[in-house]
């Protein structure tokens, strides 16, 4: 029988330490919507999403009430649109009409983001994929809730450097087209290496082609809970530290598994995976940087940060894996700068630089995430940063991502407000030595030797 201490512990996690389920993401395959007529295609997409997702938000709210735990976001991911629109779209503007359809249906079913305006071009680009990529700036500028991602490399295929170069240009163009809103469009655009097919977190969520027709994926969170648990073992050795993280991650993930199963049952859609992540928000006490400080660093970015993050990431996985029947997505610690008050403080105080963040991405679950950079940064410099990050992913057989926001009209030290969960960020300096001649070579970087396992 459950006792009062256990009940109080759970409720304290929810009320004081910001424990929540970060997202229920409904993955929907749009492959059966394909048509060579653009209007038919848009209609099919609208109808399918509307049919499957109309109860998503209400179901999320009902589950939240039943268990007394906040479910922050209800979202949708769809099949990469480059595949869906290839037959019907003859110009980038044709693709933009699909983005508008997605935005419209997202608003009607009440989800705050819809991901999957994507192309998977890790080895090469079809004409349709290149068109979709070229349409991204306009699509993100003319929609509110659509998120876009492009996979430019993988361990198995190497890096598509043509796509890397193109994405640098598209990020600058997206920033320019949304400059009235502090280049907000770029906050909805992720460049991946080794992108997972079942990631529930935005902006990089899409519904991979290996997935079923519809699937429920859930992302858990809880940096505040881990931080609170660690505050009770200050000064103890690494064994105690790691055990504490593991046990806490277990408990947090169990809640995600429960919510995922319940959502799956109520919606009649199969359960896919739980993404075991520590995803921060700008709220005080919901910060991954605070955990790093609790582990023993004065500020995130101090020497020891990479090791502390490696330990944290690994223990979260070890604790979480047993708590869920299927684990997937990105799974690990997220380090978005603008969405984490502790990271923001570390940047403001000069403790954390892009170079240190890059090192940290070698050992955590994502990459250079939500980093505001000066608006006059060259497209080739951004491509160079993407190439570096993708190389880390390719060589280490892990997902890496880049979500940089060159804020047009602003420079180092100024603050940009994105609002809501996207938070705010001080603009960070980038290394401006040129990499033009590197980025402007064409073709691919071959797959690494250790990918040949057959």
């Amino acid at each position: 029988m459950i006792n009062i201490f256990e009940v109080n512990e759970t409720n304290k996690m929810i009320e004081q330490d910001n424990l929540d389920v970060r997202t229920i993401t409904l993955g929907i395959s749009l492959l059966d919507c394909i048509s060579d007529d653009l209007d038919t295609l848009n209609n099919n997409i609208y109808n399918k999403i509307k049919r499957l997702a109309s109860n998503l938000v209400q179901t999320g709210e009902d589950i939240s009430k039943q268990f007394g735990i906040p479910i922050v976001n209800k979202r949708i991911s769809v099949t990469p649109i480059a595949l869906v629109g290839g037959a019907a779209c003859k110009t980038p503007d044709d693709f933009v009409t699909i983005a508008m359809t997605l935005d419209k249906v997202a608003k009607e079913v009440g989800v705050n983001f819809l991901g999957g305006y994507s192309a998977l071009v890790n080895k090469g680009m079809t004409p349709a994929e290149e068109m979709l990529i070229r349409s991204i700036p306009k699509a993100l500028a003319s929609t509110e809730r659509v998120c876009s991602s492009v996979n430019v490399g993988s361990t198995k295929t190497g890096l598509n450097m043509d796509a890397v170069k193109l994405m640098g240009e598209m990020i600058v163009e997206t920033a320019t087209l949304t400059k009235e809103q502090d280049s907000l469009g770029c906050a909805k655009l992720v460049v991946f290496c080794n992108a997972p097919d079942d990631n529930p977190f935005m902006a990089g969520a899409f519904h991979g082609v290996t997935e079923a027709d519809a699937i429920i994926n859930v992302g858990v969170s809880g940096p505040g809970v881990v931080k609170h648990a660690l505050s009770k073992v200050r000064g103890e050795n690494f064994e105690v530290l790691c055990e504490t993280i593991k046990k806490t991650a277990f408990k947090v993930t169990r809640v995600g598994q429960l919510v995922a199963c319940e959502a799956s049952k109520r919606l009649g859609i199969p359960f896919g995976i739980v993404d075991l992540s520590l995803a921060p928000t700008p709220a005080i006490g919901d910060s991954v940087a605070d955990i790093l400080e609790e582990i023993g660093l004065e500020r995130a970015g101090a020497p020891g940060t990479t090791a502390a993050l490696a330990l944290l990431n690994d223990q979260v996985k070890k604790g979480g894996v047993m708590a869920s029947s299927y684990v997937g997505g990105l799974s690990g610690a997220f380090i978005p700068v603008s969405e984490d008050q502790g990271m923001i403080d570390a940047v403001k105080e000069g403790a954390l630089t892009i170079e240190k963040l890059e090192a940290m991405t070698c050992v955590c679950s994502v990459g250079l995430d939500m980093i505001a950079i000066p608006g006059d940064t060259k497209a080739t410099t951004i491509s160079g940063i993407i190439a570096d990050e993708a190389a880390i992913g390719m060589i280490n057989q892990k997902t890496t991502a880049v979500r940089l926001i060159p804020v047009i009209g602003k420079g180092v030290g100024e603050i940009v407000e994105f609002g809501g969960l996207l938070g705010y960020a001080p603009i960070m300096p980038v290394n401006n030595f040129s990499c033009d001649n590197f980025v402007n070579r064409t073709g691919r970087i071959p797959a690494p030797i250790h990918s040949f396992k057959n």
């Binding site: 029988m1 009940v7 408990k251």
Partner: protein, 90 residues
């Protein structure tokens, strides 16, 4: 049978249990177990109840209890037992 957990936390005052129990009786909710402590003037109670035969929907129960809590100045939460079971039992 799936059970529901009701927790009441707040400053101790006259009639907290009476108010909560009267409401539950009205709604045909059966109380299975009550544990309660007072720590430094703070009232802390957990009830295990059977709400399967309640004459009101679960979300109405949650909202009503929250409102009663506000009236008497305590926080009242109504939650399905599964969240505690899954978190604390393997």
């Amino acid at each position: 049978m799936k059970k529901t957990i009701i927790t009441v936390v707040g400053k101790d005052t006259v009639g907290i249990i009476a108010k909560v129990c009267t409401y539950l009786a009205e709604k045909q909710v059966n109380i299975l177990d009550i544990s309660q402590t007072i720590v430094q003037g703070y009232f802390n109670m957990m009830m295990i109840v059977d709400a399967n035969n309640a004459n009101t929907a679960f979300d109405a129960l949650v909202d009503d209890m929250e409102k009663i809590g506000e009236e008497i100045g305590v926080s009242i939460k109504v939650q399905h037992e599964d969240i505690f079971d899954s978190m604390h039992r393997i």
